[in-house]
Structures are given as C-alpha cells and as structure tokens.
C-alpha cells in the first residue's frame, strides 16, 4: 500500500464525515446514506490486508460521537461491516457493480436493524422508522463510490 493511496483513503473518510454531518431537508431526512460505511467498503475491497478490523475502533468511536449514540454501538456496526467484507471480498471481486450494490444494501440494512434494536432498548418511545431508506440510498450511491474510491485506489496501486 503506497503512502499516497493511504492519504487518499484518509481524505475520502474525511469527506465522508463531512457528508455525514450535512443535514438533508426534512422530506428526505430518512434517506441519509451511510457515507462512512461506503468509503470503508471501498477501502477494504481495495486493500483487505491493510484495512482490517482495527479500523473499526477509531471510525466507530468517531461515528458514535458524531451521531451521539451509545459509545461503542457504531464500533460494533463497523466491526460487523468489515468482518463481513473480509469474508466476502474474494466473491465481491467477481460480482458486477449491481450485485455489489445488492450486497451493500443487505449489509447496511442489517446494521440499521441492529442500530434500531439498541435504540429501542435505550428509549421508551417507539417511533415509526424507515430502516430501508438509508440502505437503499447507500446501495444506489455505491457505483459512484466504486469508481471514485475503489477504482482510483487500484489505479494508484498499479501505477
């Protein structure tokens, strides 16, 4: 892994955190994609030996503070995400982008459900939720992320 590709991943993560903080208009509130998870996916696919489970602790803690959730909840979610990717990445290479999107959809959905469970345990009131929405937008955005992060990383490594 070259130094400038690591810098590129850091930059992408930074942008992802900026986007994570952006607020959407109220109508599409629910459709906030999981930006950081998308970048993590691209990074792990590009260099599975570098971006392992260790990444989960800093990123998870930062997400927890950003979203003001239970400290450690997002660590678990990121661990789950990276673990699944580490299991699946050889298969993911054979998939086309649409199939990868579908896998990502399921992964983000699973994380949403776990997030919702934790919230339901912590809070008394149960509110209507749209668990599908962030998973859907994340999956829709994956092809762009694939080109922007994954492909550029590949090009940097081979150059």
């Amino acid at each position: 892994m070259k130094l400038h590709s690591i810098a590129y991943v850091l930059l992408a993560l930074f942008v992802a955190f900026v986007l994570e903080h952006f607020q959407l208009p109220e109508v599409i509130d629910w459709f906030q994609p999981a930006w950081v998870m998308l970048v993590v996916t691209a990074a792990v696919l590009a260099a599975p030996s570098v971006f392992g489970l260790w990444l989960a602790i800093p990123l998870g803690l930062m997400l927890d503070v950003e979203k003001n959730t239970l400290l450690g909840l997002h660590v678990i979610l990121v661990v789950m995400h990276i673990y699944l990717l580490q299991l699946l990445y050889r298969r993911m290479y054979l998939f086309n982008v649409l199939q990868q999107s579908a896998v990502l959809f399921l992964m983000v959905l699973a994380e949403q459900i776990i997030h919702y469970w934790a919230m339901a345990v912590m809070r008394e009131d149960m509110m209507p939720v749209m668990l599908l929405a962030p998973a859907l937008t994340s999956a829709v955005l994956w092809p762009w992320m694939y080109v922007l992060v994954y492909r550029s990383l590949q090009r940097m490594e081979s150059a």
Partner: protein, 262 residues
C-alpha cells in the same frame, strides 16, 4: 445513555474523540457560512437603510423598557429583601449560533458552535430571543448538542404566568407543540395563558417564557385535562441562541429523588 452514565471515564473518551471530528464538522459548516456571507454582502443599500431604521426604532422601544426595568429590578430586590428571600440577579449569557440540526429523525436536537472550550456544561439552559429553547446534553471541545424542549424525551417544569399554577410541559416530538401532563380538570388554565419556567427542576432558571397554551380539552371521566401549548421559542427558525450561566442552572437534583428503585 446507561453505560455512559455508569462509567464516567467514557465521557472523556467522547470528549477526546470530539477533537477528531471537529475538523469535519467545521468543514461541513463552510457552505452555510458562505451562503450567509453572500446574503449579507448582496443586500441592497436601500434594504439595509430600511432595516437600520426599523432596528433603531426597536432599539429605542427596548431602551425605554430597559430603563423601567432597572428601577423595577431595584424595587423588586428591595421587596425581596423585605420578604428576606434570596435576590435574583441578572443571568450571565453567552451568544452562540446553530451550526446544524441533528439529522437523526428520532430526536429534536441541534448543534451549536460553542463547546467545552467556552465553558459550556451539560445541563446548561439554552434560550433564543423569544423564550426557552432547551438544554445542553453533550459537550464536545468546539460544539455542543442541545436537546430542544419539543423532544419527546424532554420535560420542563412550568407555571402559568397569570396565577402561578404549576405544571410539567413535555415535548411531543413535533416542533410546534408541547403537552402539559397531570393537569387536573379543575385547574385554572385558559387558552392563551403564558407558561414560564418555574425553576423547580433546578435546571432551568426561573421566569423565562416557555409556551402559550393553545388548546384545552376536558374529557369527562378522565382524571386529567389534555392541554396543548405552543413553544414561544422559534425552535425551527432561530439561528442565534443564548447560553445561560446561573448558579441554579444545570444542577442535577440528588440521585435518590429521581432514580427508580428496583
């Protein structure tokens, strides 16, 4: 949060990680500041003059009120001395602006641009120009998170300004509606009554406007009336807020008073 409450060292972890995400947060605000700068600089001279006139007139009115206020406060203080009650001094405030509204649709929270570096503390009351807005629930080095009074997990002790009837105003999750809970059917509350903070929870200072009663429904057979009120603070519009520093603000009542046994 339960774990955060049990292990207080986690609070410092949270605070430290706050330094890490601060750059991303500040970058996220850049478009907003640019838009604000543009609209400030692209205003017509004519409009500025007009606004200036309006503000000058308003300032005059407020000045007049402030003059009366000084004498009234002095009078109030001497009356309180007669009653041998503790005197209420003007609160110290810090002006802050809203940098973000929490995208999380479950809660009504906003993020402000002052943090632990400026002396903000958990439990600090936040006001806008029109009334009580909420309280600080999480402090990071350069920002803080404010839980608004309209959040469904929030309640504030209030009293009717007209006659001092006490009640508790809870959030409903909708920004324009609070609900008074445990109000007896016979309580003297009317539509249009101003509700001010009673200071009984020892978290909010006393006497700030909270809401105006918008509807009352007495259901025969129910023990409590359903009273709805509209917050006086502009929860969804205010951009500049005041953080209040008072002695009584933010004090948490002794644990045995609020923790459920078993």
């Amino acid at each position: 949060m339960w774990v955060d409450n049990q292990y207080s060292w986690l609070e410092s972890v949270r605070y430290g990680v706050g330094y890490l995400i601060a750059p991303a947060r500040q970058t996220a605000v850049v478009p907003l500041s640019i838009a604000e700068w543009m609209s400030e600089n692209a205003t017509l001279r004519r409009e500025l003059l007009k606004e200036n006139k309006i503000l000058a007139a308003r300032n005059l009115v407020l000045e007049r009120k402030a003059q009366r206020m000084a004498s009234l406060e002095a009078e109030n203080m001497s009356l309180r001395e007669l009653l041998s009650a503790s005197d209420q001094v003007d609160d110290k405030v810090l002006v802050t602006s809203v940098t973000a509204v929490d995208p999380d649709p479950y809660t009504q929270q906003i993020i402000i641009d002052k943090g632990g570096r400026d002396g903000v503390f958990v439990g600090q009351p936040v006001l806008d120009a029109y009334g009580l807005l909420g309280q600080v629930i999480d402090v990071l080095p350069f920002s803080a998170r404010v839980l608004m009074i309209a959040d469904s997990n929030h309640a504030v002790p209030v009293q009717v300004n007209r006659n001092g009837v006490r009640a508790i105003a809870t959030g409903t999750g909708a920004l324009n509606e609070l609900e008074l809970i445990y109000v007896p059917n016979t309580a003297d509350i009317k539509v249009g009554d101003m509700l001010v903070s009673s200071g009984l929870g020892e978290r909010y200072p006393k006497g700030y406007p909270v809401a105006t009663v918008s509807s009352i429904r007495n259901t025969p057979g129910e023990s409590f009336a359903t009273v709805k009120a509209e917050p006086t603070a502009k929860l969804d519009r205010s951009r500049h807020l005041l953080l209040v520093f008072t002695d009584e603000a933010g004090r948490v009542p002794p644990e045995q008073l609020w923790r459920n046994e078993g």
